[in-house]
Symmetry: C2
Subunit: 284 residues, 2 copies
């Protein structure tokens, strides 16, 4: 196998190592990391050592590696994922309690929907969504909702990319995609029957943040049967409105959410700021 080390920046090579870990492969040996990241074994060895010393990787008792808790620490400070997820969580739970099937929150990342939440139960219908997983936007209900409210550039990028056909029902041409997202814009929700698996139907609505901008899609995956979709679409619309209200309330002057202060009293936030200021002068 050709190694692709040459020409990649130091950062890109470190990230290639981290990218070797995916939702279904959370534990990898050094050999597996080198292979997945297309790095020479000696390079992979050195990079893994650096990443382990910094806490971005953790070595396990069996000598395999896993992504490290330091990455989680950084992530706990990402307003675009954690802030959104925490604020929307009670609304996702409310939907999940009623529908008792997969309930998910997705955001648009390039040409894909990235799922930042999925509430599920082991006996729910078959589903391809993982928390932290991605599905191409043309194939996912969240993707279609997000494209319906995204700029022309985002839609064109999806039209240019190859459109993977999961089933006979998957959207497979730019014309079909444009037609569907125009309709989603008018209806205010999407229903996809069997686009990823013939047994599953997805229903989704947009979630708006500050300034009315669509920042996420709230979707459910239910059995693909003859049950009417409208009652679920109505439930989702009500929950999305609640989440939007809480998102706007949590946004600061800049329209941005500071994830860490969600649900904390003002007095506690002030106390923490004080401790931090004291700590900086006293012990550092």
């Amino acid at each position: 196998m050709a190694h692709r080390s040459a020409g990649r920046s130091a950062l890109a090579r470190h990230l290639a190592v981290l990218d070797a870990f995916d939702p279904l492969h959370p534990f990898l040996t050094l050999t597996e990391i080198a292979s997945a990241s297309q790095l020479a074994p000696s390079t992979a060895h050195r990079l893994v050592g650096e990443l382990t010393r910094e806490g971005l990787l953790e070595r396990q008792a069996d000598r395999s590696y896993r992504l490290g808790v330091r990455l989680w620490e950084y992530a706990s400070r990402t307003p675009g994922a954690v802030g959104l997820r925490e604020i929307a969580r009670p609304w996702c739970e409310a939907v999940h309690r009623r529908v008792r099937q997969h309930t998910q929150l997705g955001i648009l990342q390039g040409t894909e929907a990235l799922y930042i939440e999925r509430l599920s139960m082991p006996d729910a219908v078959i589903n391809a969504t993982l928390v932290g997983g991605r599905i191409p936007a043309h194939a996912s209900s969240a993707g279609l909702v997000l494209l319906a409210h995204a700029g022309v550039g985002a839609v064109e990028a999806v039209c240019r990319a190859p459109m993977r056909r999961y089933t006979s029902e998957t959207i497979s041409s730019p014309e079909q995609l444009r037609r569907v997202i125009t309709r989603v814009r008018g209806d205010g929700f999407v229903v996809t029957n069997g686009h990823i698996h013939l047994e599953a139907r997805a229903i989704g609505v947009p979630v708006r943040g500050a300034g009315g901008r669509v920042i996420a899609a709230l979707t459910v995956v239910v059995p693909n049967d003859d049950a009417p979709a409208q009652p679920i679409a109505d439930l989702l619309t009500a929950a999305a409105a609640g989440a939007s209200r809480d998102l706007v309330r949590a946004s600061g002057e800049t329209g941005e959410i500071a994830p860490e202060t969600i649900g904390l009293s003002k007095r506690s936030v002030e106390f923490i700021a004080e401790l931090e200021a004291d700590g900086a002068s006293a012990t550092r």
Copy 2:
């Protein structure tokens, strides 16, 4: 101010930029990043550009920056944080519903307790804990529980570090620390009255993973009054036992948790693996 660029590895410098963002400062300008990371402005500018291109930073409309969603994606694959948090969540919620005060889950990272969960409400007692935040182990109830079940090396490291005094009640000597953790080991729980703020009491118990190893501490922060601590300690002990049972059940053959498959049906996991295999051969 002296710049510390020289002598630091490329990785360390990229991480210094990410480290500039903390729970109370999620949005920073380029100037603030350079200052916090002790990098020359030109170096900070270049590194911020690289990190933004890779999605580890996101530029906002007002030209400030925030940590990017790509970090959250990596984090969603960290068994040591996400897996643990997701599995323990129903048990944290059960405690929170009963106690109606801060309920938190902490893990030991070096000489500090790192909090991976905090359920709270705005009218709860004053508290210094943030999700993703750290408190020195000698001062936090989670830290004391974790040290009581950690190796001698971990305890010695805390004894060697300066022990910040938050209040007159904070543990402030190695002798006192060793006495307390011996007692915690015997009692099975810890009670700290006013160690971080005189108005707050913390009560904590260990959470065990595969092989009976203590991997986290479940704690509550309640008003520091005359109410007996034992009923809360009993509640925490019962919840921790439930969480431990679920953790052991979720652990694979290696005793490790694959976070992404929590709560998904076996059929869905197999379907996702199939899709992934097809995708690798068909579209890549």
